[in-house]
């Protein structure tokens, strides 16, 4: 069978999104369930890939198929493209497999030329409409298909308006528009060195190519990266007969969500504009009206629309985002798709749909993108601080959350600020796809124009980023880089705070508060616990983090780093004394001073974790990290320690390393200075005894870092066991403790069978394991890693998403070898990846027992762990 590249809407269905794109598949589906969809056809994503394969040309067979479908469409519509009597006009839109709002380009009114514009004027009896449509088409086509800058056309328009003294576009009369069409064609000719194409088929082919090309425009590439969309999917092209919302006061256009995308409330949510085309709503030029008011304007169309929204939501079993146009009171549905929503809405909708019997718990769990939870888990403004804060303006609560930052007025400045380590707020009149990178880097987004479905609002919600949109209380002066209100001027670099849930804009920094799991969120998390099999632990080095993690459902500590405890101001002198000791005796004295402090650390953590496992990693970093490097501190250290400055400097130089990552650290320290781990072991067990005596259930796991050879672990374990067992015997106590190791050196994975003989548990330290497996220093890789990801040499930054093909293989091998000698060995992961959804699924499949992540990622990990089980059931 020959490949098929073009499908009429009647030939498709919703499951064909990989062929027809999301939009095309849904247009087909709606057509087939009898909804009023303007007729048309879809050019498949395969055609797009074919286009790129053929060096950016459309194959003849595809052209033939297009012409055939166009012929069918003309017959169905009884109109001819470019026809002199009843001309067929087309919209040409992209339609990728996964929704990429604002990323791809659209051309409307295609088919207009100097002849058909007259025919359109005749057939609609509306000459102004016809010429308005023609000038819009010329501009859109020139911009989108031919790359002529939009402002050239806008300047021409402004000039006419100025000359005539108009303020609104609607004031332009037919003659003005005819003049404008002439001007626009001149601009085209000047830029392209040829006449504006009068052949509608040429227009069509150029438009299709433009859609294909836009698949690889920089904004699209950024969006795909941001949303993990493979770059080889390609985009489909939807060719649809035009319907017009701008045919006068019985026409209009709008978008609506079947539920509230910000809160999840089960109530239609949307906007419309009378006498307008679709872009007018999303572009935010005119402020649209709430969908509910359509009832009064056009009750019949409204009722029909409401019926259709209900049909669509039930059909797709999810909240829908629907575009519609009313042409002379007749309703058309132009698009439906699963609506983007905030994390909060996402949860509420999923839980509600379960309550309504539409989906089940597992489906609800699968509906939530784990990463999206991030926005629910970040602090909100503290109410006390909020009460004291000064509101300078109020806009639309476009995407919830709390954000503080310095204001910057364009994407580049925000990116620069981010690189300098500053938190910033992107402030724009209105955002456009060019702002995407700035939106990624900003803490929050503030726009002066646009509604709840404006670009800024939709994209920010998708990102889970705080956004206040359409804030007409402020003047945004992008040129002078300042925000002005009646009372205040805020200049570039000054702080503001945004509350995305209330729409309030505050001057200065407003304090944030902690968040917790309640209501539907809690319900969903409980379902997650019901289905997940991986335990979720947390990385926490202090009682505060441990408490926060427990609140989020952490089932233990997977990594308690002890070195952070050493940096404390009270302790660092003793640590330095220990390091600078010349003899074992001196070192023992210094360690003796540290012992009670470490012991207290552990008691405090044991109290918080009562009944839950606490995995404590013994000292890991190279000793030079604890030594000062500035002359002043060295001098004061010299005085307090009564050691000469030169002696200290000599020691610092001695300890310096070429590659500290691969140097004298981790268990290697314990081989040369066994007394350090022995002190830590004492502190742990003394702490455990103290806590146990208070009635607390203590479950310590002692973790030896950086083991690469079983014998290292063996000798260190013997020292620790001896230390602990002596103390327990003396105290006549029994405390169950285990001793295990980080698996973070490639060799540890390769020899995991030998290491397992000595270990009660393995915790895969995927940060270091990634560094060594790739040979990337995390501190240095910035110089090339960005380029690697951009050029797709690597799919992802392997420090964020576990590299399953390389590092993952080592983990699988380590797990397999470990279990081969000790089937019940406890296996976990404690690198950054422990909170990353795809990495968690990998851990589940690799047979690990737990993942450990930062406190705020615990819910993400719980949800991901549940999804891993459900996904792999199929």
């Amino acid at each position: 069978m020959e490949a098929k590249y073009v499908y009429s809407f009647e030939e498709g269905n919703k499951d064909m999104r990989y062929v027809l794109g999301g939009k095309g598949a849904n247009l087909a589906e709606m057509t087939n369930i009898g909804l009023p969809v303007p007729q048309g056809f879809t050019i498949s994503t395969d055609a797009c890939n074919d286009y790129y394969k053929n060096n950016e040309t459309i194959s003849d067979n595809i052209i033939n198929e297009i012409e055939e479908k166009l012929k069918e469409l003309q017959e169905k519509q009884g109109k001819t493209l470019g026809g002199e009597i009843n001309p067929l006009l087309l919209s040409v839109r992209s339609g990728a497999v996964f929704s990429m709002p604002g990323m791809m380009d659209t051309i409307l009114n295609l088919g207009l030329n100097d002849t058909s514009v007259v025919a359109l004027a005749n057939s609609t009896q509306n000459e102004r409409f016809a010429y308005d449509s023609y000038r819009r088409f010329i501009q859109m086509f020139s911009d989108v298909a031919m790359g002529i800058p939009k402002y050239k056309f806008e300047n021409a328009l402004d000039k006419i308006k100025e000359a005539k003294g108009y303020t609104l576009d609607t004031e332009l009369n037919v003659e003005d528009l005819k003049e404008l069409v002439k001007k626009y064609k001149e601009i085209y000719t000047k830029e392209i060195k040829s006449q504006f194409p009068q052949d509608p088929k040429e227009q069509l082919m150029l438009a299709i190519k433009a859609v294909f090309k836009s698949w690889n425009n920089p904004r699209a590439i950024v969006y795909r990266k941001l949303n993990d969309i493979p770059s080889d999917l390609g985009t489909a092209v939807n060719i649809q007969s035009m319907v017009f919302g701008n045919m006068g006061e019985t026409s209009g256009t709008g978008v609506a969500f079947t539920r509230n995308p910000s809160t999840g409330e089960n109530k239609i949510f949307g906007e419309f504009l009378m006498n307008a085309q679709g872009e007018d709503v999303v572009a935010g030029i005119r402020t649209p009206k709430d969908i509910s008011s359509l009832k009064e304007v056009m009750p019949k169309a409204y009722d029909e629309f409401m019926k259709i929204t209900s049909i669509l939501e039930n059909h797709y079993k999810d909240m829908q985002d629907i575009e519609f146009t009313i042409e002379n009171e007749k309703l058309y549905i132009l698009q439906t798709r699963n609506g983007k929503r905030t994390a909060g809405a996402s949860i509420n909708i999923a839980v509600d749909l379960v309550g309504e019997g539409i989906i089940n718990e597992k489906e609800a769990i699968m509906r939530i993108e784990p990463k999206q939870l991030d926005q629910l888990l970040h602090p909100r403004f503290e109410s006390k601080s909020l009460n004291e804060a000064t509101v300078i303006a109020k806009g639309l609560p476009a995407s919830p959350g709390a954000a503080c930052g310095k204001v910057y007025f364009n994407a580049e400045d925000v990116v620069d600020a981010k690189n300098r380590g500053e938190e910033s707020i992107l402030v724009r009149l209105e955002t456009s796809p060019e702002d995407i990178e700035g939106m990624v880097c900003a803490e929050g987004i503030l726009t002066a124009r646009g509604g709840m479905t404006s670009h800024a609002a939709v994209v920010a919600r998708g990102m889970g980023k705080c956004c206040v949109a359409g804030c007409s209380d402020i003047k945004v002066d992008e040129y002078n880089k300042e925000i002005r209100t009646e009372d205040v001027v805020i200049k570039e670099g000054e702080y503001i705070s945004l509350d995305g849930s209330s729409g309030c804009v505050y001057i200065g920094k407003v304090e944030k508060t902690e968040v917790s799991l309640t209501g539907n969120f809690e319900k969903l998390m409980n379902w997650a616990n019901k289905y997940k099999s991986l335990m979720v632990r947390t990385n926490a080095d202090n009682p505060r983090d441990a408490k926060a993690a427990i609140k989020f459902g952490a089932e233990g500590i997977g990594l308690c780093r002890t070195e952070h405890m050493f940096f404390d101001e009270d302790r660092i002198p003793a640590v330095r004394e220990m390091i600078l000791s010349k003899t074992l005796e001196q070192r023992l004295v210094a360690l003796e001073r540290l012992l009670p402090m470490q012991q207290k650390d552990f008691v405090d953590i044991f109290r918080v974790m009562d009944g839950k496992s606490v995995n404590i990693r013994l000292l890991d970093p190279p000793l030079h990290e604890f030594l000062p490097h500035d002359d002043e501190t060295i001098k004061s250290l010299s005085e307090s320690m009564k050691v000469s400055v030169s002696e200290i400097k000599r020691r610092i130089v001695d300890l310096d390393e070429f590659n500290p990552m691969l140097g004298h650290r981790g268990c290697r320290l314990a081989i040369t200075f066994p007394e350090i781990y022995i002190m830590q072991a004492k502190a742990i067990i003394n702490g455990a005894i103290e806590a146990t005596k208070e009635g607390i259930k203590v479950m310590p796991e002692i973790m030896i870092p950086l083991v690469g050879e079983a014998k290292e672990l063996k000798v260190i374990k013997e020292d620790i066991k001896e230390t602990i067992d002596n103390i327990l015997e003396k105290e006549n106590m029994k405390i169950d403790y285990t001793i295990g190791t980080m698996i973070e050196v490639p060799r540890a994975c390769l020899t995991a069978d030998e290491i397992a003989k000595e270990a009660d548990f393995f915790s895969f330290g995927t940060n270091d394991l990634t560094q060594m497996t790739f040979g990337y220093s995390r501190d240095d890789a910035g110089k090339f890693l960005g380029e690697y990801v951009n050029r797709e040499l690597l799919e992802k930054d392997p420090f964020e998403v576990l590299d399953q093909r390389g590092v993952g293989k080592l983990i699988e091998l380590g797990a397999k070898l470990g279990k081969s000698v000790k089937p019940n060995i406890k296996l976990g992961i404690c690198g950054e990846h422990g909170g990353e959804p795809s990495s968690i699924e990998f851990c589940y499949k690799a047979g690990l027992d737990y993942v450990s992540c930062s406190p705020y990622r615990v819910p993400i990990a719980r949800l991901s762990a549940a999804q891993a089980v459900i996904k792999n059931e199929k």
Copy 2:
């Protein structure tokens, strides 16, 4: 069956060396082939291990076995241990599985006490002999078994000699000796707080324990490490009835090699002393006579001995090292073993034995320890320089080779010098086992006393280290740290040169010359080529090294590092300019300047390697390695480049890395700066064209370093291929070239199937692979690696000997995955391990095609490669 721990000589044979030790097994073998061996029995190595297992006690069942065998021995001899009439005297000697000369301790004349000494005097009619034996026994027992310092006894002896005005020990009469025995017993009592043990069985058990203990004395441990002898083998103990070479002028003792251990000449080589015990020969106190003169002194014994040497050599099919004693004209063989020999002798003997039909070629190949070849491959003195040099003394040519260094007078100073990076000569009156570490660290050894079989000579030959022994022309003043001859004084730290083949000692530094493969060495190497299957290539970055390697039989270049070419004084300015370029254009200009220089490098190498493969690795190190770090060079660079100092410094800081090993280097440079590799590719192919036009056969292999992901290699390969193919097309030439990669990052091994699709060859870069697999920075690991090897946490330094359990697993995986997609992919290794015998055997077993090593290691690699095949045939 109950374990057996004690074997009479009749019960053993030569194949039981793991049970009886080498000495015991050979004593048993000789006993059973009817040679005159003093009767006795051997306590097995198992008994030694049992001793250590039981917390350093000898089990009762072993004691019972010993007593039983002792009873048998007494019956056979018709004597009783400690008997009052005809007392049995015993020697107690250690006997390890592998010969460890001078390492273990011996006690002679055991069984003497205040009663049996009288009986011995009576039975031998030689009272002086009896008391001399008794005082020797007390001293040896006290020293070896009880740890009383020897000098205490020597002082007592010296006092008597002084009081009586004697110069020689032989001047002591019976009364003197009786007095001395009394004194010695007093010393014993004072030190040990108990009487000297009179019970011979107590003496025996203490002596056996002393042997067991000596297995773990520090010298023994050092020797084992040096010679790769496992520490869990244990030592056997040989208990043998005494025979006396010191019974007067019809008695004597000696050692002989069946061939010359220094040259391999097929002629008996040995020394003896009349009226002496064995230690007197090896200790170097009296200067022994050549074995040939025994013919005149005792023709009958000499003839019998010659017959026996021939029997033994034919029996063992190898050159033997034999100890003998003549007691009252009766010859006894006390020991035989395969004699230690120089590398040169080793080759000559092996080749001669093939010529004599005693062994075959393969056996000859297996006879040579590849590492030993090292001594043949090091430069000798240049004859011109030698003619001009001043000989200050001449000693015995104890171990061949040429050595230059600063003189030091004790082992510690030599070790310190080595640590400072100095070459040194260890100068001693005579060496003892305490000097082992100094001998390891010295370039050569010079002693004033001792013969060809003295400690210094034997150990130096074993190590392949140059040694001039018994150089009585010089006075060695260890106290004032100087060497004095009639004419000159050489102080500590001044240079001398030693010729171990002539025995000459030169003042100052004598130039050395290259060596080559000729004669038997060449013959053996040709046999090696006949049996080996691995190709042996060399690592060479310049024509000089390439030439040297070809002379040694290199079959190609396995690693030509291009960065070394960049450090050249002429080039570094252009390199720095390239690095400091702000734009691509500037960088291209600088690279254009480097191009002709690189091209010349390659032409020169291609000329030398005519017809052989040349594997060229493109730029590998991080760019900051090429930048200056001292202010002066920065300033002059600033002037020559017309770039401000601060700009240069900023760039240096920019390029600085936390972990350069894991930083922006290797192919990562080519991802960010593709133009660098493109320039190198041009230089290679232009060079190849130039050489081809000269009629040279060029086989370039282009190697991309540090690949961790197939896509890296893919994009770089495309650039290079395009560059080269364009040039070849333009020149209308055809040159076969291949493009492959280093496999040196763990992830490359893990994803080798994907990488193989893009690679014509893999070259395992085991230096970096070891660093990353272990997580050891080679530059920093010195801080702990020594301790790891000493404490046996690692068997070997993994940078010297390939870690087969860890790194080896990755190599096997990489080779397997690579072949799974490309069965004929060429596989090699180019790390330091390519010249290390056990690593080469691993490479053979892992299915690699070639190894590559430094030029001087090529013969070692060829031999190892042949041995790998032969070993694995079995």
